[in-house]
């Protein structure tokens, strides 16, 4: 009986998720390209992986990913935490602002991407309009090698902050109010309460949130594909973007699959960390 209930799930996930992942391994061992896709690709063993570890662009992409992930997380986490703390103390304000604040999180990558391209537009964008208004020089945000990655980070912080905010707000709600009451009765100050009650109680949720957001940001490339496609001059070529470009722009499926599997390994390590952290959070 239970098997009849789970069979559709097992079947669906097997065909569209598990099988493609396993096939990825096989593809990564071949020199599969658009040009040989019909007559069969030569088996190259670990050739794609060897090539990958000698590919300067791959290391470059890891560095870009690092900037993108660290920048996004710093912005998204600090803003999200601050808003969650404020909302927790001011429920009336939260009721009005929350629906507006979550908007960017549920817009599509296409909408997010083009909205920001339009904001960053050199002549007609609002940001340069503001810069000109205060007498500063306009900036070519997305076409500037040193600026483009940070322009993407800002757009990504815009999109991702609502998730951290909601997540931490829910975690704050789970802290028993008696703890606060006891602390205030004992004469603790606002800062002491945050330092000795709120923050320690929040720590597991913070850890889980950071891991999830790190994974998502590392794997994210939809807005990058829309906004810069990895350019200018590879300045925004994250590893995920590189993988997509190799496979679908240059038609090197085998090599792309090898990059995907290295990404999978990185994700796997993060996922293990996630499971252990969730486990610990459940115990304490």
């Amino acid at each position: 009986m239970p098997y009849a209930f789970v069979a559709p799930l097992a079947l669906a996930l097997l065909s569209v998720s598990v099988l493609p992942l396993l096939w990825d391994v096989w593809v990564s061992l071949q020199d599969l390209r658009t040009t040989n896709i019909l007559r069969g690709a030569p088996f190259v063993g670990l050739g794609n992986y060897v090539k990958l570890f000698h590919d300067p662009l791959f290391y470059h992409s890891l560095r870009v990913s690092l900037y993108f992930v660290v920048g996004s997380i710093l912005g998204q986490f600090m803003l999200g935490l601050l808003i969650a703390l404020i909302f927790h103390r001011m429920p009336a304000v939260a009721r009005w602002l929350r629906p507006v604040f979550i908007l960017p999180w549920i817009l599509s990558a296409i909408i997010v991407g083009y909205s920001w391209i339009w904001m960053y537009n050199y002549n007609f964008g609002l940001i340069n309009l503001a810069l000109r208004a205060v007498g500063l020089h306009p900036v070519r945000w997305l076409n500037d090698i040193s600026m483009a990655i940070w322009a993407l980070v800002i757009a990504n912080v815009w999109r991702g902050t609502p998730f951290t905010m909601l997540f931490l707000e829910a975690a704050l709600k789970n802290i028993p109010p008696e703890l606060y009451e006891a602390a205030y009765v004992d004469g603790a100050s606002g800062w002491q309460v945050f330092r000795h009650i709120t923050f320690p109680m929040l720590r597991p949720a913070v850890a889980i949130n950071l891991i999830l957001v790190t994974m998502w940001t590392f794997n994210l490339f939809d807005t990058i594909l829309v906004m810069t496609q990895g350019g200018p001059a590879n300045a925004t070529l994250t590893t995920a973007m590189y993988m997509y470009k190799i496979a679908f722009r240059y038609g090197l499926f085998g090599y792309g699959a090898a990059i995907a599997l290295v990404m999978l390994a990185i994700n796997g390590a993060m996922a293990l960390l996630y499971v252990r952290t969730v486990g610990k959070a459940a115990v304490s």
Binding site: I106, F124, R132, L166, F167, F221, L225
Partner: protein, 280 residues
């Protein structure tokens, strides 16, 4: 509490200042899209740009619906999103119910796999998915895309519904079974009606995910007439010169369902945003 009212206001001033700044940060990009979409073509490209449209015009909206494939894209997206949602709801409901109410061999492995697939992005498998779909002749098929979207939504929906079913007391079901109701009957006539808010959340999520997705659609749909609304929006940019008035109008159309959900189903949205991520 020891402080006077005036002093408290002063202390809260930075907080309100911060909230106002963040509010502007959040809405200005969306506002700029809306404002541009209602400007006549000439005003869109006038320098310096106008903060408010001088004259509200619907010409961009008329143009995108009469001169481009946007209407077709909306229809395609509705087909893909609703079929993906129905399929995912059916599959995830059954599985989530089994995970909450039955003990069976392989349950742990299966649940672990679902969690793993929730954490691992479906993007990783996009190359073989493309190869698989081309072998099976599922490229350029809207229902094929809806099938591919199951990899995106099923793990999330299964955990969401499992959390919801766990909140429904098992005694209600036992009472119905004593009265002679079968397992499937119980699920259909007792549990599902009680789980309606959870099902609504799950449905909204599956719909939004499928409506918003574009990377798989870009990879698996190659025919012009099958493009979803997100892909049609993308096409405005491939042209030699971007018509920002029309592009922003198409973007407003593209985000319409999401805006409707925020206005009318906010409670479900917030429950859903957290439902998949907090518990597991």
């Amino acid at each position: 509490m020891r402080r006077t009212r005036g002093a408290r206001w002063l202390a809260l001033l930075p907080v309100y200042g911060f909230l106002l700044a963040y509010l502007l940060f959040t809405i200005v990009p969306v506002y700029w899209v809306f404002a541009t979409s209602f400007k006549p073509a000439q005003e869109v490209m006038s320098f310096p740009p106008t903060l408010l449209p001088h004259r509200l015009s619907l010409e961009n909206y008329v143009a995108v619906f009469t001169q481009t494939r946007l209407a077709r894209g909306v229809v395609n997206s509705l087909i893909v999103s609703s079929s993906a949602t129905l399929l995912a709801l059916f599959i995830a409901t059954l599985a989530a119910y089994a995970f909450t109410r039955f003990r069976f061999r392989g349950k742990g492995v299966l649940m672990g796999t679902v969690l793993g697939l929730y954490l691992i992005p479906p993007l990783i498998g996009i190359i073989p998915l493309f190869l698989l779909f081309s072998k099976l002749g599922l490229l350029n098929n809207l229902f094929g895309l809806a099938l591919a979207y199951q990899s995106l939504v099923l793990p999330l929906l299964t955990f969401m519904l499992k959390n919801y079913f766990e909140g429904i007391p098992v005694e209600v079901e036992e009472a119905a079974m004593i009265d002679g109701c079968s397992r499937v009957g119980v699920l259909r006539w007792v549990t599902l009606p009680l789980a309606l808010p959870g099902l609504a959340t799950a449905a909204i999520f599956a719909f939004i995910f499928s409506w918003n997705e574009f990377v798989m659609a870009l990879t698996l749909l190659l025919r012009e007439d099958l493009k979803t609304v997100q892909l049609v929006i993308m096409e405005f940019v491939k042209l030699h010169r971007i018509e920002w008035g029309q592009l922003t109008a198409a973007m407003v159309v593209g985000m319409a369902p999401v805006l409707l959900f925020i206005v009318f189903a906010q409670r479900y949205l917030i429950a859903g945003l957290l439902g998949g991520a907090t518990k597991s």
